[in-house]
């Protein structure tokens, strides 16, 4: 059995085990918490495609995420499209958005790209606020169906959908790391000018990475209207998504897809736990504090710590 096949089978098995484990717990809260954690796994893996592999920091996670969510709202409202199709459409549209923003700004130094993504969030939010068909500033309701053909419980269906997306993203990220694309991105991250001089098509590779990353983020946002039932621009474009995604990836480590997954699972589980235990503003304080401690003391994240303790050093 090839390594690749083993890896994919492993992912699939993890997914199936997860579903059955949560079924054993047998309550909706498990699906809801699981959904949120997986949503952050997906976002972090997506963010890392650009940040970890190519060294470009995206401040507009919320913009791509919200684009996905609003794609679903619009397609449900106008065509009553099935959620699965909405997710695909959201991927296409957010991917296209990534391509467009990348094309406009990726020729610039990395930090300009970061600022441009931040402005993108503002411009898009203003657009949605002024677009009454999409609910405008009043927000939009999306009624979830009672159940689903395959799953009796719609919460379970949402969880499984997010699980499939997250595992798919992990598979894609793992593929990028081994592919020519990944190697090209790594060359860009280490020294963009040298890479360009050596004949790496830097702009094209960066554009592909931005499109993939944007598409994944859009897909992460697509089921949100069904999860929350009500969505307004303020919630969809919330800075929380941007902050959390960054923090989770950096805490986990950016060298490979394992880092964002570890960071997202740990930090979002911690947050979910803190919401129902500490239950105060202290919750975000934890995120901020943990983030600062990690970037100061363990700049390569948990992954870096693990590798260091294994004596491998900080291999990228």
């Amino acid at each position: 059995m090839s390594r690749l096949l083993r890896f994919h089978l492993g992912l699939a098995a993890t997914g199936i085990v997860l579903i059955f484990a949560l079924r054993l717990i047998g309550n909706d809260y498990a699906w809801y918490t699981g959904y949120v954690i997986l949503q952050y796994v997906l976002l972090s893996v997506a963010w890392n495609v650009l940040a970890g592999y190519a060294g470009y920091v995206n401040f507009g996670t919320a913009a791509f995420f919200a684009t996905g969510a609003y794609t679903t709202i619009l397609l449900t409202k106008s065509l009553n499209l099935d959620l699965v199709l909405c997710v695909l459409a959201a991927g296409l549209i957010s991917g296209g958005l990534g391509l467009a923003v990348g094309w406009l700004t990726l020729r610039l130094r990395g930090v300009y790209f970061s600022i441009a993504t931040l402005s993108l969030a503002v411009v898009l939010q203003t657009l949605v606020v002024n677009w009454s068909y999409a609910g405008g500033s009043s927000g939009a309701y999306t009624m979830r169906p009672q159940g689903n053909n395959l799953f009796g419980n719609y919460s379970e269906f949402l969880f499984v959908l997010m699980l499939v997306l997250a595992l798919g993203a992990i598979a894609a990220a793992a593929w990028i790391e081994r592919s020519r694309l990944g190697m090209g991105l790594a060359a860009i991250r280490d020294d963009e000018r040298a890479a360009a001089a050596a004949g790496v098509p830097t702009l094209r590779l960066k554009l592909i990475a931005t499109a993939i990353s944007g598409a994944m983020m859009g897909m992460a946002g697509a089921p949100l209207p069904y999860y929350a039932s009500y969505l307004n621009p303020e919630a969809a474009f919330s800075l929380t998504y941007t902050i959390n995604t960054m923090a989770m990836t950096l805490i986990g480590g950016t060298q490979s897809w394992v880092g964002p997954v570890i960071g997202a699972v740990l930090l979002s589980a911690l947050q979910q736990g803190a919401t129902v235990t500490i239950s105060s503003a202290g919750n975000l304080l934890i995120v901020g504090g943990v983030l600062i401690l990690f970037v100061m003391l363990a700049p390569k994240g948990i992954l870096g710590l693990v590798q260091a303790s294994r004596g491998k050093g900080g291999a990228a």
């Binding site: 809260y29 809801y32 606020v129 500033s137 009624m143 929350a228 009500y230 303020e234 919750n283």
Partner: protein, 421 residues
């Protein structure tokens, strides 16, 4: 883990509560048995924290009251709540936790539309009776039969909300012919502005300026100056606390005058803004939910405000307690009465009780229609009169926030013109 309600000043509260309710209830038996747990999410941090925290204090005061009176159905009451950080996305998770894991007996809502709506599908699926606090139209889509909403705007906010403002304006001489409308681009403010347009059209008043501004606005002078150049008789603002201050400051600096100014402003109701604007509020005609006037002194109102203020003072929270707290207390009273009338924790029975009869509360008699909205809108319009300086004590007295609408609570007459002479 879960926060228990504070039991400080228990004895004092007990005495006060028994004194104020002795006429209505049978003699207090000590509550016994397993506590009835009431679950909710509430904004303790983030943008809505000011209202969330003060509402929570009022709900805790109610908890102390009812336990002092012998509990609900003879059992003590315990509040189980989690901070939703003013973020709607965390609300569904919190309610599934409350219902599936904590297995609470009763639920109430968080604060405001954006935090109520995301809870609805979870609530509907579990068939819980649900009393919400200051939502607008959160049950329009669901048409859920076991809901009630504590919000004076009633079912047709887009039409009725500004009615009081224009009714009050009828007293002006000569009658107003033009109005300027400006407000924040948000759900509540947009509905308020829509109702102002509807009312103006109905009364043949011409709208000479009509614009929404985004939440990030820093400088309000372009808006106020544009209104000034349109010289309207009436100015209707629909704003939130940060921009209410910005607008009124710009109005003062640019010396905008009108026969009547105010509208659906959210801000002057809360303590921090009253303290900030002080005498600048004079003659403002503003939407409100409650004012400490003799016409709105219902059974238990004064007693509640006194107790709330004592607790709030100690905690450094919203000290006047005139906006969210009375509504939050009334929310708990409705829950209490519905449960008592149903005689059990059966959610269908409690849900049915919500629409059957009216509920006497500290904000008056409430009656809910089949979607849970108030049968009669009761948007209060007050005019600030005779404020001197920035001292907060004066807002506790009657005659400062004079009620001009609705007629049944009217407690004074309109002083025309803004600013006050």
């Amino acid at each position: 883990m879960n926060r228990e309600m504070t039991r400080r000043s228990f004895g004092l509260l007990a005495t006060a509560a028994v004194a104020s309710f002795a006429g209505k209830k049978s003699l207090a038996q000590p509550a016994s048995g397993e506590p009835i747990r009431i679950g909710f999410s509430t904004p303790l941090s983030g943008g809505l924290a000011g209202n969330g925290r003060s509402a929570l204090l009022a709900q805790q005061v109610w908890g102390d009251d009812i336990n002092a009176r012998g509990g609900l159905l003879g059992r003590p009451v315990k509040l189980v709540y989690y901070d939703d950080q003013s973020n709607g996305a965390s609300v569904p998770g919190i309610y599934t936790k409350l219902l599936d894991v904590d297995k609470v007996d009763l639920v109430i809502s968080s604060y405001g539309t954006a935090l109520i709506a995301p809870a609805m599908p979870v609530i509907v699926r579990h068939g819980m009776a649900f009393i919400s606090l200051l939502g607008s139209g959160t049950n329009e889509m669901f048409k859920y039969g076991r809901a009630a909403n504590i919000s004076p705007v009633g079912r047709k906010m887009n039409e009725d909300f500004a009615k009081g403002f224009f009714e009050v304006a009828k007293a002006l001489d000569p009658a107003p012919t033009t109005v300027a409308i400006a407000g924040l681009d948000s759900d509540f403010s947009n509905r308020a502005m829509e109702s102002a347009r509807t009312q103006a059209k109905l009364r043949g008043i011409k709208v000479v300026y009509d614009r929404a501004y985004p939440p990030s606005t820093v400088d309000f002078s372009p808006i106020v100056r544009a209104i000034q150049s349109a010289t309207p008789d009436l100015v209707f603002f629909a704003s939130y606390p940060p921009d209410s201050v910005g607008l009124l400051k710009a109005v003062r600096e640019l010396k905008l005058t009108a026969k009547m100014l105010g509208g659906g402003m959210v801000g002057p109701q809360v303590t921090a803004i009253k303290a900030q604007l002080g005498a600048q509020l004079n003659n403002l005609v503003c939407w409100d939910v409650y004012a400490p006037e003799p016409t709105m002194d219902f059974a238990g109102t004064t007693a509640f405000l006194d107790r709330y203020r004592a607790v709030a003072e100690a905690k450094g929270a919203e000290t006047l307690g005139l906006y969210a707290p009375p509504l939050a207390y009334a929310q708990m009273q409705v829950l209490e009465q519905a449960v008592t009338r149903a005689g059990s924790l059966d959610q269908a029975a409690i849900g049915a009780e919500l629409h059957r009869d009216s509920f006497p509360t500290i904000i008056g008699e409430l009656r809910f229609d089949e979607t849970g909205e108030w049968v009669e809108e009761r948007n209060v319009y007050v005019q600030y009169q005779g404020i001197v300086g920035n001292d907060l004590q004066q807002f506790k007295k009657p005659g400062v926030q004079v009620i001009l609408y609705p007629p049944q609570y009217k407690s004074g007459v309109l002083r025309p013109g803004f600013p006050a002479a």
